[in-house]
Amino acid sequence: MADGESKWEPLIVAFLCKWCASAGADLAGVSRLEYPPNITSITVPCSGRVDPQLILLAFVNGADGVLIGGCHTPADCHYVAGNFKALKRFALIRKMLKQYGINPERVRLEWISATEAQKFVEVARDFTEKIRKLGPLRRREK
């Protein structure tokens, strides 16, 4: 393995909604639960505000994976149905990435409530490991 490659660490951008997933991540922090430092989180008002254009911009700017965290369906979204928007956009952008030859598994959507600190940590660990296995973002991967 080349020197540069062995030093590679996955970079994951997480868009977390303020009311659930981000609160869950905060709780993980105050509870001193450990999760990988590969995750850079950005708090958004609602998962329904995560325009797929932002997902593409994250990839352009060096992300190897993008995580979207929102409130549980059907009833937990603070803005009634933002999580459904996120879900349907997620389905479409994944299909488009796949068609372009980018592994759709690089985008992940999870419902994480404000109390689910443990779930946040598990998702963060699991996703980081999956992206690590996939390696740096590239085209035509399985």
Binding site: P52, L87, K88
Partner: protein, 337 residues
């Protein structure tokens, strides 16, 4: 009035000929112009060689047609930019990569293999198994064809563009505006200070006469040609993908009037960062909007995934300006920390 005629060059690159035809269709309007204009280069209609362009000290306006797909196109564009006071990206291909940029879904090697070596295309008769880009010599003469570049790209990937004339091909309204710009230039010799786009920066929907329901909930994805489509109701309300919401107004709605949805040949409005991302953002939420709370996540995902060929819909004319292309470029060229 200036006694000296202005020089215009019409320069095709990766193009289908449709844009040239749209210019030829100007007929009388073109003739009227010829009192003030010399067409100094237009290889589609007369025997011009690239040297003819090289030998000119300068030209006033270059109408550049098509996207950049060969090394040779890059050189032509460089020449056009050097010589011309005003560079016009004429047509969707020059503006956004156009329909040819859908080829960016594949690597150049895959494209060449499919077209020149596979048996799938009945029009290919290539017993010698030659593909462009390889060295090819006959009697010591180098007849190699210039290689494919990695992507079909719009002009502004390589050069400053002064005027964008969108459309596949540009419609009469755009041509009228272009003629106005040319006439102004003949009078004043002024070059536009900031790039002009010869279309509105509002979505096509704004001038579409179809009935738009307050709330649109798409029950399932439908394709045109497969089932009857109503003439007066918004396409989206019928489950048919129409790019009106993210496309610049200004074509005069020829497709909508012919009961065809908009495919976006005028390109995205300026608020769009990426046509496909915006497409996903705007359209996906409409699916089963009125049944969200009763369907499971899996069911909703399945319904959205029924959209066949989403890249083809979202980026029909614009894959050449997509962020996807930039992602790939960053990867290829290595990211700088």
């Amino acid at each position: 009035m200036n006694e000296k005629k202005i020089k215009i060059a019409i320069i095709p690159a990766a193009s289908c000929g449709g844009c040239d035809v749209s210019l030829a269709n100007l007929n009388e309007k073109l003739l009227e112009l010829t009192n003030f204009v010399d067409i100094v280069f237009w290889p589609t209609v007369a025997d011009f060689k690239i040297e003819d362009l090289e030998n000119l000290e300068s030209i006033d306006i270059a109408l550049f047609i098509g996207s950049i797909r060969l090394k040779e196109h890059e050189e032509k564009l460089k020449l056009a930019r050097e010589k011309a006071k005003i560079l016009v990206a004429y047509g969707a291909c020059a503006c956004f990569g156009g329909i040819f940029s859908l080829g960016n879904l594949f690597d150049p090697e895959e494209l060449l293999e499919h077209v020149y070596l596979s048996n799938e295309l009945i029009t290919t008769d290539n017993t010698e198994k030659e593909i462009p880009g390889q060295k090819y010599e006959i009697n010591g003469l180098d007849l190699s064809i210039t290689p494919l570049t990695d992507h079909a790209r719009p002009l502004n990937d390589f050069a400053r563009v002064d005027i964008y004339a969108p459309g596949c091909p540009p419609r009469e309204i755009v041509l009228d505006m272009l003629i106005k710009v040319i006439s102004d230039y003949i009078q004043t010799r002024q070059i536009p200070e900031i790039p002009l786009v010869l279309a509105k920066d509002t979505p096509l929907c704004n001038s579409c006469p179809r009935i738009k329901p307050e709330k649109i909930s798409i029950d399932r994805f439908r394709r045109i040609g497969r089932e009857p489509i109503q003439q007066d109701l918004c396409f989206l309300a019928q489950g048919v993908i129409c790019l009106g919401p993210i496309t610049r107004d200004g074509c005069g709605l020829p497709c909508i009037k012919a009961n065809m949805p908009c495919r976006g040949c005028f390109g995205p409005t300026s608020d769009v960062i990426d046509p496909g991302g915006k497409f996903a953002s705007a359209f996906a939420p409409l699916f089963k909007l009125d049944q969200e709370k009763t369907l499971s996540d899996e069911e909703l995902i399945k319904i959205v995934e029924e959209i066949d060929d989403p890249i083809g819909y979202a980026y029909r004319f614009t894959l050449g300006i997509s962020l996807l292309k930039r992602i790939m470029r960053e990867i290829k060229e290595g990211r700088t920390e």
